[in-house]
């Protein structure tokens, strides 16, 4: 069977989750390889969530929030931006290609953009292949 990536997408409730819904309402077709986890604001996404996802074998992780300045909670996404920039550096040190992680701004009106971003990201991850952590996870399981 063809390898299918597993991608976790954290979205804020107000913009990006709504954008994903709009993509659905507009019947924009996308590869099925991502799972959305909804939080109220992108600022709720603790960098540890992202690390946990990678640890558990995610091939890619995306955090999506409102456009800068549009956050429903005023400046939540500015914090997200700062945190995620640091996280990206960290990922490299963990031996992960930083391309496996993305931060995107998608508004409630951008169903089209949501679909495009997902398509692109899935393509990108497919090119990168399975996460090295998957291998480790498997081996750990094999050898106990």
């Amino acid at each position: 069977m063809e390898w299918r990536p597993k991608i976790i997408v954290f979205t804020c409730n107000w913009c990006s989750y709504a954008g994903a819904d709009l993509a659905g309402v507009s019947r924009l077709q996308m590869p099925p390889d991502f799972r959305i986890i909804r939080v109220m604001c992108s600022a709720r996404v603790d960098p540890e969530f992202v690390l946990r996802a990678f640890q558990r074998g995610a091939d890619g992780v995306m955090v999506a929030g409102c456009h800068p300045g549009d956050c429903h909670y005023i400046g939540g996404n500015y914090r997200t931006r700062r945190r995620m920039a640091l996280l990206k550096l960290l990922l490299q040190q963990f031996g992960l290609n930083p391309k496996r992680f993305r931060l995107e701004w998608i508004s409630a009106g951008e169903g089209q953009k949501f679909a495009e971003v997902i398509r692109e990201f899935v393509d990108e991850i497919k090119k990168l292949g399975p996460s090295p952590y998957r291998q480790i996870k498997k081996e750990v399981r094999k050898h106990g």
Partner: protein, 1023 residues
């Protein structure tokens, strides 16, 4: 500093008459439901009178809705259920008005209720009676395409969900009586009369679809494969006669070629139906698009005269259907439909560009128009209200929701053909008028809902119930729902799982309640559509079942699964399983949350002093609340200042003057001119807005805000505008006529060009008003100067609704209409001194050159982008691609934003006419009052909490919080001073930003704890 800005209300008249705080809503369609819900939220009791056996109206019969292709039942179901379960809405089905006495504020209405022969109090809706009923009758719900039993329920999600016996079909065999365990059958049920006391009456009976047997040339009733658009809706619907498969009635085969014939029973002077039904173009496109979605091989063709796609997002929908979805459009009048008796195929005869043609189809759909509701003529007489010549309620442009009788209001299609969002808007709008009339008796007839005591689930092991929705075929066709149910049963803590055709319907709510009790569930997961629309509905069900509403989690397997993976059922099913697993994992870790209430500043801020803003402000003031009205320019009036006459009124300026006068005299309104918003803080119930006024900065405290900032006129870059002074816009032309600068009597030849700055790449939408505006100005010229030669160069004439009359009058007067194609727009050039317009005339097949005295451009409306972008940031509300504000839901929440407490009306929403703007402003005012009329507001319970054992008072969270909701306090514990973070629950908005910042893991967000999110991550990545 805010307080004494309002003049005190001295000498307020005491009402002599005794007003009643109840309202009669006649009609249970979408407009009626919206009105009923808003009335209750405004503090009024509602009697909802429905002539059929269940509420829901025509919308309950529709498959999908344009322009979002939302499933009609899915978006309507929450409202149906809400109406059904609201203590303050008495639904009286199978009833009509006998007599009305009294006057505005205090009516006595005698109603007659026909027998149901089944006691709705006892009927459980189990359907055992129908399963055993031996007789069959025509199924009206499926528009006669199949049969139903003699004892039946109108449709599966019907409210009330009680069966009814059709006594015309019933043979009285007694089977159902014997079978009914609830003993609900009442063969001796009698007609009842009852007298209701109400303060106002709202007429929302909707419309009756045109009966095309009146047009024998189309063969309806004679040829099996000619169906009406209503029948075709049922054919497309999963709950329809063919389970959502596109089939021909004659032989059940999948048709290859389907034709839609437009304007059947519309735009037909001979038939006495001169008006345009306003919605048929869009529903035909939608049906064609949905048909392709069902069966990609079908070739849809739409036969039409003009495509009237004038609403928000409509033009884009049309262009997309034409360019990307394989829908073919033929511009013509169809003269005849013939049947090939052997194949039952149909041959359509039509005339295109002067040539007679014939074409064969497998199925023909007649796009029937909207006619006034059946049997309402008599009622109108009884009520003493006037109807227009077409049989709709006659209303004035300045008061579109008022009938000719005080205290009786109208909304929805009975006021004139219209689509769902406009019906909803009018439903809300009428509530503003009623609230103004009955404001002194608000809340006097309201009952409070009692919930069963909340079950204490602490210490219990999770017992999760999972309900998975087919959503008709919206999920069921792309996800193997049964498989997901079986899978769900294997998940940890799941003790029960089942699938439902519609998990959101009223009967499923009752079922969920039963199952919660039976299975002792303490957590519930619903896998269906998006929690953004449906979570509150299910939470209410939990509450009614005695469970804390926060023991609930949703898996979005429609918007985020079935609808986006339509071509890979296996993957979609797998994903649905994953999403359910994630939701279950989170659910297992949920705990009850406590709700609390905040005070509300019962005052509104209206931004924009144009027509929309002034009307909204006046309505709120008349509803009894104070309003700040902010205008950035030096005077009130907005675009209305440049409108002098319309087709309906010769004098708009005096209307404007009286409106401004009313605003200025209204003691509850405080106007700020030359003022701009600088800053907005707070949230619903407690906004604080900083204004920059000529007198300096002011801070306004308000509970709600209405955005009514209007839009801009498009300034043409084309057609030599600005280069030659004989080229004007319609607005400039009108002004010059009104001011006497242009004398129509002296005009020779005038050309008007439509769609300037609209329906193109830069502005892909239709500006809606320009066709009517051109017609108005052309009529004006010809009225004064019948000799003038006028040419209107257009793409589609969009004089929808009753405006068609003025278009026809203009044609009568000899105005020449030339259609141009968007690919070949007219050219304007100078030949010597002469201004010449040349255009390719499709009918002639040649280019014509017209030397003109005056060229008038129908310039469109554009969003005030910069302005809107700024406001959108202030209030955290979105804009659409064209720069107009984007409402919470295009269909059913047309004046709300997803951000609570902020509302929208007027051109800031999209281009629209005066009467439409007024109704929309009234709607925004009514919606705003649903907040203002309460003293307390339910606060977000999903907020931050501190684990004091872990907190070391470092204060990082305090700096992170955008709302100043965290404070570091010093407490003395065991004689030691320690620092601790404290969350102010009234200020915390629940973003969770502080939690991610906390270095010691002491912060948590209720409803989104780290524990819960980790559980979801782990579940998502489980192999």
């Amino acid at each position: 500093m805010v307080k004494d800005r309002f003049r005190t209300l001295k000498g307020k008249p005491v009402t002599a008459r005794k007003e009643v705080g109840s309202v009669l809503v006649v009609g249970g369609g979408i407009a009626g439901m919206q009105a009923a819900l808003d009335l209750v939220q405004n503090g009024f009791h509602v009697y909802m009178l429905e002539s059929s056996t269940a509420i829901g109206g025509v919308m309950a019969q529709l498959d999908k809705t344009f322009p979002t292709n939302d499933c009609s039942m899915c978006i309507m179901a929450p409202k149906l259920v809400e109406c059904g379960r609201d203590l303050n809405i008495d639904i009286i089905t199978m009833a009509e008005i006998e007599e009305v006495r009294g006057e505005a504020g205090n009516f006595e209405v005698v109603i007659k209720q026909y027998p149901r022969y089944i006691d709705p109090e006892k009927c459980t809706g189990c359907g055992e009676c129908a399963r055993n009923c031996p007789v069959r009758a025509i199924n009206e719900y499926n528009e006669g395409l199949d049969l139903r039993e003699g004892v039946y329920v109108k449709y599966p999600q019907a409210v009330p969900r009680s069966y009814v016996i059709d006594r015309d079909a019933c043979i009285g065999c007694g089977l159902c009586e014997n079978l009914c365990l609830a003993r609900a059958i009442k063969y001796d049920d009698k007609e009842k009369t009852e007298t209701l006391h109400v303060g106002a009456i709202l007429l929302v009976p909707g419309f009756t679809p045109y009966d095309p047997t009146g047009k024998p040339e189309y063969g309806y009733g004679r040829y099996e494969n000619v169906v009406t658009s209503m029948q075709y809706e049922r054919i497309l619907s999963a709950s329809g006669p063919f389970q959502g498969h596109v089939q021909r009635p004659s032989d059940g085969k999948i048709p290859k070629r389907i034709a839609w014939i437009q304007c059947v029973g519309s735009r037909d002077i001979k038939d006495g139906r001169e008006y345009c039904s306003s919605v048929c173009c869009m529903y035909a496109i939608k049906q064609a698009v949905m048909t392709k979605e069902h069966e990609a091989d079908i070739e849809p063709t739409i036969f039409m005269m003009d495509m009237r796609c004038y609403g928000k997002g409509f033009e884009q929908y049309y262009q997309n259907a034409k360019k990307n979805q394989g829908v073919r459009f033929i511009r013509c009048r169809v003269s005849e439909v013939r049947e090939d008796p052997e194949t039952k195929d149909l041959i359509i005869k039509y005339e295109e560009n002067g040539k007679l043609k014939e074409e064969r189809f497998d199925l023909v759909v007649l796009s029937v128009g909207l006619t006034p509701p059946r049997n309402f003529e008599k009622l109108a007489q009884k009520l003493g209200i006037e109807l227009n010549p077409y049989g709709f309620v006659d209303t004035l442009f300045r008061s579109p929701l008022e009938t000719s009788k005080e205290g009786i209001f109208v909304a929805g299609a009975f006021q004139g053909p219209k689509d769902i969002p406009e019906s909803v808007t009018q439903g809300s709008g009428a509530v503003a008028r009623i609230a103004a009339l009955l404001r002194n008796v608000r809340g006097t007839q309201i009952k409070k809902k009692e919930y069963p005591p909340e079950r204490d689930v602490s210490g219990e092991e999770p017992r999760i119930g999972v309900f998975i929705c087919h959503c008709g075929i919206n999920i069921g066709a792309y996800v193997n729902v049964k498989e997901v149910v079986e899978y769900a049963k294997t998940l940890p803590y799941v003790v029960y799982a089942e699938d439902n055709l519609y998990t959101c319907s009223q009967d499923t709510q009752n079922r969920i309640k039963e199952i919660i009790e039976r299975e002792k569930l303490n957590r519930v997961v619903v896998a269906s559509c998006t929690p953004r629309t449906h979570e509150p509905l299910f939470q209410e069900t939990l509450r009614e079942a005695g469970l804390n509403p926060y023991l609930f989690e949703m898996a979005n397997i429609r918007e985020q699964c079935s609808w986006i993976h339509m071509h890979d059922k296996e993957a979609a099913t797998q994903k649905a399983k994953d999403l359910v697993r994630m939701a279950v994992a989170k659910a297992a870790k949920l705990f009850p949350l406590e709700e609390f209430y905040l005070d509300i500043t019962q005052r509104a801020l209206v931004i924009g002093g144009g027509l929309a803003g002034m009307v909204a402000a006046l309505e709120i003031a008349r509803g009894g609340y104070e309003v700040y009205l902010v205008e950035k320019s030096e005077h009130l009036g907005g675009h209305l200042r440049g409108i002098y006459y319309t087709n309906w009124s010769p004098d708009i300026q005096s209307f404007l003057a009286s409106l401004i006068n009313q605003v200025e005299l209204e003691p509850r309104i405080k106007v700020y001119l030359n003022s701009q918003i600088k800053k907005v803080e707070g949230f619903v119930g407690n906004f604080k807005t900083t204004l920059e006024t000529p007198e300096g900065e002011v801070v306004l405290e308000h509970g709600v805000a209405i955005i009514a900032t209007g839009a801009d006129k498009y300034i043409p870059k084309e057609y030599m505008y600005g280069e030659d002074k004989r080229v004007l816009t319609q607005a400039e032309f009108e002004e010059k006529i009104a001011k006497g600068e242009i004398d129509p009597k002296k005009l020779g030849r005038v050309v008007m060009i439509q769609c300037v700055g609209s329906r193109n790449d830069e502005h892909p939408y239709c500006s809606r008003i320009c066709c009517t505006q051109a017609v108005k100005n052309a009529n004006r010229i010809l009225d004064e100067n019948p000799e003038a030669e006028i040419y209107i160069l257009f793409r589609d004439m969009r004089t929808y609704g009753f405006r068609e009359k003025f278009y026809n009058e203009l044609r009568e007067k000899g105005c020449v209409f030339i259609r141009y194609d968007e690919e070949k727009p007219p050219q304007v050039k100078k030949k010597g001194k002469e201004l010449v317009v040349s255009v390719y005339d499709e009918l002639l097949g040649d280019t014509v050159e017209i030397p003109v005295d005056l060229l008038v451009l129908s310039a469109g409306i554009v969003a005030s982008r910069e302005n809107n972008e700024e406001l959108s940031k202030f209030f955290k509300v979105p804009l659409n691609e064209d720069g107009f504000f984007l409402e919470a839901h295009v269909k059913l929440r047309p004046v709300d934003f997803a951000t609570e407490g902020v509302f929208l009306c007027g051109l800031a929403h999209s281009p629209k006419h005066i009467e439409e703007t007024i109704a929309q402003a009234q709607a925004a005012a009514a919606r705003a009052q649903t907040v203002l009329s309460k003293e307390k507001y339910k606060a977000e319970p999903k907020i931050a909490a501190v684990n004091e054992d872990l907190c070391d008072g470092c204060g990082i969270c305090e700096g992170v919080c955008e709302f100043g909701a965290i404070e570091i306090v010093t407490e003395v514990v065991d004689d030691k001073e320690i620092k601790l973070a404290k969350v102010n629950e009234a200020l915390c908005k629940g973003c969770g930003g502080c939690i991610a910042a906390c270095p010691s893991g002491a912060m948590e967000q209720k409803g989104f704890t780290s524990d819960q999110i980790y559980a979801m991550i782990d579940a998502a990545l489980e192999e």
